[in-house]
């Protein structure tokens, strides 16, 4: 995991340094920093050091890259190139004055992702179970059709349709929502964001149920004369839901890191929209920092799959 993150950092760092501009010279709306101040600032932030390896003597690790990684480990992602005076981690994680941590940019994204995942699981798991139990009926086919659409149609297309219908035609929601304190405002973005995950969970649950239904222990349970409900809850679900449970971590990470388009479309004040703004402004340090945090989240989530399997299925041991 650590080598992977280091590599992500290395690739991101290298590519970002190919990009034109630096922290002090890209904001035409403000007074430009003169050369001597730039030099002093470069010295202060270590930008006068060699990029990767210090071969001029001294500590070979005394370079910009290793300084960046070292600082990042301590939670310092460096100053934003565009929002002067603010560090990247402050923009992402610092809540407005007097508010709790979940009112920070990242907190907003996390709550939206969680809501989307909860909606997706609450609808997807029962739908998948019912589809499997009523295999090859109209119900099953409709569930499969909906999940095929959900898996293939990208969420931003769905967002466009919903915004135009709900906001443009029916006036049920505002096109640009400014007040995110009411839970109703969260519903539409969460539904759009979670639709693909809902479709995936439905399909996974259905397939996993179908597999379990053919197992010998289910037949044994039937042979013992157990009632249908007991077999479904005690014997089938317990096993069928293992793969569904294990994807929850990666699904949540995917929803949090993948929400930037939805956030931008709905004007949602999360870290994703901040990321898109940073891309538009070419705020390289912000792009880099956010990418690293997103990568960390995804790598961590993938790690949870292995750990979860160890807990839920004792046959698999984590080594």
């Amino acid at each position: 995991m650590i080598p992977v993150l280091l590599l992500v950092a290395l690739i991101t760092f290298t590519l970002m340094h190919q990009a034109p501009g630096g922290p002090w010279d890209r904001d035409p709306s403000r007074r430009q920093v003169d050369a001597s101040t730039q030099e002093a600032l470069n010295k202060k932030f270590g930008l006068d050091k060699p990029l990767f390896v210090n071969i001029e003597g001294g500590n070979p690790l005394d370079s910009q890259f290793f300084t960046y990684v070292g600082n990042a480990i301590q939670g310092d992602l460096g100053p934003s190139y565009r929002q002067r005076g603010r560090d990247v981690q402050d923009i992402l994680f610092e809540p407005p004055k007097g508010k709790a941590i979940w009112d920070s940019r990242f907190g907003y994204s996390m709550r939206l992702g969680l809501l989307a995942l909860i909606l997706a699981a609450l609808l997807g798991i029962p739908l998948g179970i019912l589809a499997a139990l009523r295999r090859n009926t109209i119900f099953d086919y409709s569930a499969l059709f909906v999940s095929t659409i959900g898996i293939s149609v990208p969420s931003f297309v769905l967002a466009i349709f919903l915004i135009i219908i709900l906001a443009g035609q029916l006036n049920l929601i505002k096109i640009i929502q400014r007040d995110w304190s009411s839970p109703g405002a969260w519903l539409v973005p969460a539904v759009v964001l979670g639709f693909g995950t809902f479709a995936y969970i439905t399909r996974l649950t259905r397939n996993s149920m179908l597999e379990v239904m053919g197992q010998d222990y289910v037949r044994t349970a039937k042979a013992k004369g157990l009632g249908g409900r007991v077999i479904i809850t005690r014997h089938m679900l317990r096993n069928a839901l293992i793969p569904v449970m294990t994807i929850m971590g990666p699904a949540l990470a995917g929803l949090i890191t993948g929400s930037f388009i939805i956030e931008t479309m709905f004007g949602f004040p999360g870290s994703g929209r901040e990321y898109v703004t940073a891309i538009g402004n070419r705020d390289y340090s912000m792009i880099m920092g956010t990418t690293l945090i997103y990568a960390l989240l995804i790598v961590l989530a993938n790690l949870t799959v292995d750990i979860m399997y160890g807990f839920l299925d004792p046959r698999i041991k984590v080594k």
Binding site: V4, L7, V8, I11, T12, L15, M16, Q18, A19, P20, T148, I149, I151, S152, V153, P154, F156, V157, I160, F161, I163, I164, A167, G168, I175, N207, T257, G258, I261, M265, V276, I279, G280, R282, Y284, I287, M288, T291, Y294, A295, I298, V299, N302
Partner: protein
């Protein structure tokens, strides 16, 4: 064939047996013919294929099909609603001249969507071709010879897998956009490279897995016993047998690439919108989404038209992909 050979005796009993055998036997059909007929029986897949063919036709003949020049600015005719709307929120009425209306600069939306099909088709097919060529060759070599090449390749794929795709595309496109590489083909070339860099891994792994199981099969052993060389075994025996898996993988890679282009275009990182009428690639569906974003109330069709187009193409590829998977490998049927 064996039944007909056994029934060549002149007794009456076996003559009737020969007749039965004649009825039962049919001209031998190859695997591909079988798969083709299975595919034709899948309505969703056929519909998907037809839609894809339609969009390919539109992409190729865009200049003939587009009612207007997609770059032509019709001053005073900005934000016209589609032709069936008589009174839009801006107080304008649609005209049959601009079927889907116009954008803020008075450019014809339908013509722009038609030209956008070019980018999506090219972004779908060209990187996928590169990916397949690179992925298949590396996967074959790695799986067939094993050893340290294989090890190295697998470590490489681990790393690429760990990097979140979309983040990688965003980083590459932002960082290298201003360079010569990023300007080539209005930025499309860089997008091809980025897509190929990430996606060859999946194909290579898939093919490697196929090769690992195929190279133990008897027909490979037989071919080697006759004296066939490694390259001949790979090209004549293993490749044709992995083709089904490769085709299915392609059918799912293409819509993925199209979605990626649309997302990057929406972020302003895809195709650079062109103002040069001699360009082949003028606008993309993703760029249209970005342009139309501010006009949701005035002229939603700037957004709706490319969104519908993306949804249609991507759904079609998915239906076709599902159909191909069922047709080429009936064991995988869900």
């Amino acid at each position: 064939m064996t039944t007909t050979a056994q029934t060549q005796t002149p007794s009456a009993k076996s003559a009737s047996a020969a007749e039965t055998a004649k009825v039962l036997s049919r001209p031998s059909r190859s695997f591909w013919r079988d798969a083709w007929s299975r595919l034709l029986h899948n309505k969703a897949a056929v519909a998907g294929a037809l839609v894809i063919l339609f969009f390919m036709f539109v992409a190729i003949f865009a200049p003939l099909l587009a009612p207007h020049n997609p770059l032509e600015l019709n001053s005073g005719k900005g934000f016209l609603p589609p032709m069936w709307v008589e009174n839009s929120s801006t107080g304008k009425a649609g005209t049959p001249e601009f079927i889907l209306g116009t954008d803020n600069l008075g450019r014809d939306v339908l013509s722009r969507v038609i030209y956008g099909a070019r980018v999506s088709m090219v972004v779908g097919f060209i990187p996928t071709l590169i990916i397949v060529v690179v992925g298949v060759s590396l996967g074959m070599i790695s799986g067939y010879f094993g050893g340290s090449t294989d090890n190295l390749l697998m470590r490489l794929t681990d790393i690429v897998y760990a990097f979140p795709d979309l983040l990688f595309f965003i980083i590459v496109m932002t960082a290298l956009r201003a360079t010569a590489l990023g300007q080539f083909l209005n930025g499309l070339f860089l997008l091809f490279v980025a897509l190929a860099l990430v996606n060859w891994v999946g194909v290579a792994r898939l093919v490697r897995g196929q090769v690992l199981s195929l190279k133990e099969k008897d027909f490979v052993l037989a071919s080697r016993a006759v004296g066939a060389k490694d390259t001949r075994i790979m090209i004549r025996h293993i490749l044709p047998n992995s083709l089904g898996v490769i085709i299915v993988a392609m059918a799912f890679l293409i819509p993925g690439a199209i979605i990626t282009e649309a997302i990057l275009g929406y972020l302003g990182l895809g195709l650079r919108p062109s103002t040069d009428p001699t360009d082949i690639f003028i606008t993309s569906w993703g760029s249209m989404l970005l342009e139309g974003q501010t006009a949701i109330n005035n002229q939603p069709w700037i957004l709706l038209a490319p969104a519908i187009a993306v949804a249609l193409v991507v759904l079609s590829f998915n239906f076709l992909g599902d159909g191909l998977r069922d047709a080429l490998d009936p064991r995988l049927r869900e």
